[in-house]
Symmetry: C2
Subunit: 216 residues, 2 copies
């Protein structure tokens, strides 16, 4: 994996939202719609079950040519031959993740405050997850949202790739890109959508549209 | 670490039972009393917190010369330079654990049924955790207890090192060894004891006494 993957539209998985569809099917539809990377984040399952789900999603990602990133656990990222890992502030420290996964792995780090984002300048990570950009029920345990103003401020202070997550939909995605995000990540906007392919297409259109406007 | 460590008396940690004492202090006292190996099993804490606790316990174990084993997570075992890992039936498969940790790591596998124990004959693991040997509130999610009769039966069928866990105390520890266990593992019998050193000494005496009787 190249170390600077296309993170324009990241799908973060949640099988409990997939409503009877297999997660692999949701992933395939989402990538057809324009998702550029997939992060496997499945809670409330055993390691064995995570690996089983992970294998099918990893194979889907490989066949579709998009990076496959595992949340939190470096051991499972290694077993699943993932392209990288996404870690939070209370997870494995970035330097340990890098040591375990090697120089080619994509490492993303969630930051919930400006202070955390600036501390991450010293770390060998490939992108920052701006979390949450908007208030969202999916991650209730965070320290308040960044909002567009906070993202703009951070954008002026760092050259890091920034991927915003939390409460993003086709209506506000463009504004997030215009405020300085390099990409967006979504959970329910795709996983819970009746038509994940179309949901991804709408989000991707908003991202691409904002970029076109920004480059004029 | 040699692949056949002394598992006569394994302390499995639970900081929530340590009642204000540091886990490291409990571990040091327990090893003074006769504990021969320590497995770090801490639930309900973040990865970062697990690593912090793990570092102090790992250093204590190294300075005291007893093996330090991490429960479940191979990535944390690697970061903590543990001597091995203990996995359950729903954790990382043994072959993946071996691949990640290498040939010198001690790998233990919990088995809850005779069927699981016999299936493990094909795996490259160093010991089986016979779990639970007796009914216990610490692990309520198991398939019923082995009891001494089940352990004796398994003993006749395998040459594996067998470490029994669950409801063991100084009164029944000798019978567990006589039924065929190579060692015992305890959580609350040491972690919750008013005097962990003395608790360990009493357990160790029971184990050693049963062996002496067995070799007559």
């Amino acid at each position: 994996m190249r170390r600077r993957p296309d993170l324009s539209l990241v799908l973060v998985t949640d099988r409990t939202l997939a409503a009877g569809r297999s997660l692999e099917d949701v992933v395939r539809a989402a990538v057809r719609g324009g998702v550029t990377a997939v992060q496997l984040r499945e809670k409330d399952c055993s390691t064995r079950q995570f690996l089983e789900i992970g294998r099918s999603v990893q194979e889907a990602c490989r066949s579709l040519g998009v990076p496959f990133i595992v949340n939190d656990r470096a051991d499972l990222a290694l077993v699943l031959k993932a392209d990288g890992i996404h870690i939070g502030q209370d997870d494995l420290p970035p330097r340990d993740a890098r040591r375990l996964l090697g120089p080619d792995a994509v490492i993303g780090l969630s930051v919930e405050t400006l202070e955390q984002a600036l501390a991450a300048e010293a770390e060998d990570v490939d992108y920052l997850g701006i979390s949450p950009i908007f208030a969202t029920p999916t991650k209730p345990d965070t320290r308040g949202e960044w909002d567009l103003a906070g993202l703009s401020k951070l954008r002026r202070l760092t050259r890091r790739d920034l991927v915003a997550i939390g409460g993003i939909n086709p209506e506000n995605a463009g504004a997030v890109i215009e405020a300085g995000a390099d990409g967006i990540a979504v959970v329910s906007a795709i996983c819970a959508a009746a038509d994940p392919e179309r949901a991804a297409r709408d989000l991707r259109k908003a991202v691409d549209g904002a970029r076109t406007r920004g480059s004029r």
